[in-house]
Each structure stands twice: as structure tokens, then as C-alpha cells.
Point group: C2
Chain length 346, copies 2
Amino acid sequence: MAKIVVLGAGVMGTALCVPAADNGHKVLLVGTPLDQDIVVTMRRPGGIHPKLDAAPPAGVEAIRFDELRSEHLANADIIVVGVSSPGIGWVTDILNRVMTEACPIAFVTKGLESAGSAVSTYAQTLPSRIPLMSAFIGIGGPCIARELANRLPTACIYACEDISVAEQLAAIMQTDYYRLSVTTDVTGVEACAALKNFYAIGVSAMQTRYPDQRRADGQSKNPTAAVFTQATLEMARLCERLGGQTTTAFGLAGLGDLHVTVGGGRNSRLGQGLGTGRTVVEMLSSELFGETVEGVDTARVLANMALEKQHTDEGPLAYFPLASAIMDAVLQQKRFSLDFSNLIVQ
Amino acid sequence: MAKIVVLGAGVMGTALCVPAADNGHKVLLVGTPLDQDIVVTMRRPGGIHPKLDAAPPAGVEAIRFDELRSEHLANADIIVVGVSSPGIGWVTDILNRVMTEACPIAFVTKGLESAGSAVSTYAQTLPSRIPLMSAFIGIGGPCIARELANRLPTACIYACEDISVAEQLAAIMQTDYYRLSVTTDVTGVEACAALKNFYAIGVSAMQTRYPDQRRADGQSKNPTAAVFTQATLEMARLCERLGGQTTTAFGLAGLGDLHVTVGGGRNSRLGQGLGTGRTVVEMLSSELFGETVEGVDTARVLANMALEKQHTDEGPLAYFPLASAIMDAVLQQKRFSLDFSNLIVQ
């Protein structure tokens, strides 16, 4: 039986407790300052997470962050960080305060950070900020938290420079509904995890941009499929530029997670709004008011990279036409416009 | 102005006339024996293809197959074959009867053919059967005919061993809504064009297999995304085994066309039926009675290939678990069952 500490009692942190507890491990779920009410609710007999319609399985103990002590982390096999990117500073602080022994840490948190024109993933920036982290593990792949909590099947990917650490964690977490593969391409998995939110905005815009009244859902299909392909190819190019492998973008962390992100969520809703001709400001001040749309943050970071044109014998060629169209809409408040004549799809 | 002859006045053949005519080329559309009524209808003033809600553009002349003479093909720049796979024998016969000079021929027809355990694409089998074909061009990518005929944007890929021939045809056909890239990987494009119908059955089964009552569309998203990824990876492996390149499967001809095929059509309807627990026989004797489901034919051909297990240090490993699950359902009349614990996704 392994000992697992999960930081963050939001939907994803809580959902990850389910396969771990189903495997008979001891799981401690630690709420953030934003999760105080959730922890209280879950501690009641039969208590259910307010945003998950599944009860936490037996074997999961929930505590508040102000109850967390160094003893809780003693002999932990793994710490899993399940917060979203705005919480990563809080995670760093609390871990450095309570960790007294080295431990591997797995992150579902995704984000890119920039310093000047250099863009880095958490795999590159967090290890030096958390000295007692013995290994950084990145978690990628299609995983809507509520579906995982309800044990609907999916497949994800765990990445660590030391493949044996990724394999150990995968062995702890894998169930027959939560299938896991492993890779050493931690930079690629982290890059794709952030990029897929950004590209989901552009693909989702195609779901509303070209109506087709003869379809039951009112939407044409060719534009979305063509732009989904374009998004995957650009994600592979960007992944490589950030130091990852293109094959990672063609797998669960890339196109797999892009697929599920286009299927729902805040980035998708933003994109669908853009597809109908609304602007980002209009969307963020109405339907999405007060919500974190992670693809918008990714767009800001990507703006620091020079997504320059590629030069060919015939002259310059836009190499990231979809990224450029999304950035124009998100950062310059233009109405979303993707000129298909700019696509270079192979 | 180029001269283009399109064989087959079904939805795809007729739709391909639209970009060609929009570019000002002279287009002759030749109906098959199944298209006699369509040709009569389209010839009337303002005549509309009965299955397309768009009028053929000016510059398209439609004739019946029994009106086709060698003179019609004289000085043609390209012949485009737009029939489905059951019509390929008829195409071969009529072309050999009326062709008197060499001409490149492009095919949207997709299919795999087997001789013993050897599986071949049309790119490999048709050239010897049509001696006056000076070049074989394969057409792939996401392209629902009715959407193309209505000038909704998409991106496709033209493949020819001689890249300059693919480029010439792309230059004739490309418009701002019909974007074209080119490749020499004609075997890969042809393999993907056939395989995507087969894999769409398995992905579409996931759209109904795991209901989620809290979704507007009633369906969970993780299983479909995970299996879409698995389908893409298996398609890449099979593409390589058939002599094509894996990158082709990760582009428009592979995942792009798979995406649109899962979005609708007969293969998708079959898969969605399988996902609810019905068998192939039940589906083909009710909703799909009398219809050509091309993925079923592909399954029969793939059965001749030994999709053997891969051997690792730990023993044999199923390398095509999704293909195996689809073949069990299609060929052995089992209820569709994909064990996620068999997935090897990276």
C-alpha cells in the first residue's frame, strides 16, 4: 500500500484520488485556501464533492491546508499537485514549508512561463523552486475530472526524465478504467498540456463559424476537422521548439487532450463565442466573467516567442497561421478570422 | 484554362466540379450507370443534384456514360475518378475502352485489396490495370461532399509519386475554400483513406458506449478522445506496414479525415449502433440495410493481414487492440467490446 498526498481538492485533485483509493492506497487530500468549504462538505458522512457527483471512495481522508503538518508528508510515496495554474505559487510555498524529506511530485497543473523571449514549462522552472522535489512528473492526456471520478475509461500519460519513477507512479495509479503510458518527454507533455488549451480556442471557433442548417447540430464538419489537424501539426512544431518531441503531440498529451478540450470547458466556450463573431472582451465580460481561461494565459506567453515566418524559395511562409489567428483575437481584441488560404497543412 | 473530366456524378464527383469550375476550367461530368437520373435532372435549366443542395456552377457539362466518346478525353489535363469502391471495376473498363492517349488520373475512391496475406492500395494495383494512366494521384483529407459543394472551407492533400504532377493538379483545383497540400506518399494517403473508415467504427462506438446524463448530448468525452488517439496511432502503424509514412497518418489524410468521418456518415452510424450493444448484423439489416459501409470491407481485407502481437521482454503485447476489437465485432458478429486495459497508447 502506497501513501499518496494530493494537494488541491478541486475537481481534478479529488478525481485523482479515485483510482488511487480503488487500488487500496492510503490517500490524503489537502484542500487549498479556496477549498475550505469543499473539505467540510466531504468530511460529512456520505459527503459528496459539490462539483463531482461521485462520493470519494473509502480510503481518502480530506483535510484543510491549515491542518497540514510535516508528519502528513512523512514517508509519502508521491505528492500529486492538482491545482490550476494560478495556484502554483501557493503550492510552492506550502511544500517548501512542510516538506522535510525528498519526495517525487506529480503535476496536473499546466502552464508556460516566459522570461523575455524564452518560454519554459513547469518541468523546467519548478524543480529549482522546490528543493526537496526528488523528481518532477508531468501528467497529460484526455481527462475530464468528473468522468474519471465516475470511473468512465480513459488513457493518460505520465512523464518523468527518470522513466522508472514514471513507471512506479503509473503502477500505483493505473486501474482498468484509468490506463497509463509513460514517457521521458516531460517537456513535451508539459508543453502540450498548456498548448492544447490555446489551440482548443481556434478549433472550437470552427464549430460555430460555418453553420450548416441541414445538420442536426447545425454545424458543418469539414472546417473543424481541417483546423483540428492544423492545430495538431502546429502543436507538434511548437512542442519541438520548446524542447519536446513531436511524437508527444501526436499522442495522448497532444491530440488526445486537444480532442477532449474541444469537447467542452471554458476554452471551448470562448472559442465558440469567437466563432460567432464576438470578441474576447465581450466573452470575458459576460458568459465567462470571472473564470480562468487558461488558453488566454498561454496566448500571452506565446506572444513573447517570435513565431516567425519560415523562409522558402518562394519567400516567407506563415508557419503558425492558426496560432497567429488565435493570438490576434485574444491579445489584440480582433474578431477571430482564420484565412484558410494561409493554411499550410503538411 | 484546363480541361477536366470527372467520372461519377455522385455527391463527391459532382462536388469536385465546384472548385474546378470556380477556377474557370472546362469540366465534363460523366455519370455512371447508377447516375442516369441525376444527369437528366442536372441538365434541366437550374437543375440541382438531388443529393446536393447546390446548383452545379456554370462551366460544368454533365453527360451520361453512354454518351462518352474518346473525343471527350482528347487533350484532357486530368481525369478525376469520383466513384465509390464498388464502381472501380466499371471505371477501369470504361477508361480502357475510351482512352486513346496518356493522361494522369486522380482518385477519391478508396479501398484496400488483398491477394493472400498481401494487402495493397489502389495506388499499387490500378496502374497496371489502366495502361494509359500516365500518373496515379490519390486524394485524401477531410471532405464531406455537400460541404465542399457549398464552398465551406476545408483542406485536403493530393499525393503522387511525381510531386510535380500533384502540384499541377493542386494548382488547377485549389481555391480559397479548398486548400491543398501535396505529398509523394501516395501509398500512405491511400492506406489512410481506407483505414479511417474502419477506425471510425471504433471511435464512434465510444460516442454511445458510455452515456453521461449530465452532458447536453448525453455522452461522456474521455473515452472518445482516448480511442481517437489510439485509432490515430494504430493507423500510423498500419500505414507504415502497408508501405506509407507515419506522418501521413498524423496529417489531413489520417487524423483529419478520421475526425470528419466520426462526425457523420455510415461508418459512424454503424459504430454508434455497436456502442449501444447492437451487432453488425442487426445494424446492416435495419438502419443500414442496403447501404455500402466501406469500413466493413476494409475489416475483411485487414483480416488477411496478420496483425500479430508484438513481443517484448514481458511477453506478447497486443499491438492493434482497437483494430482487433473492431474486427471481432464486424467479422465474428460479437458485440463490440474494447477492453481499455488492452490499450497501449504510446
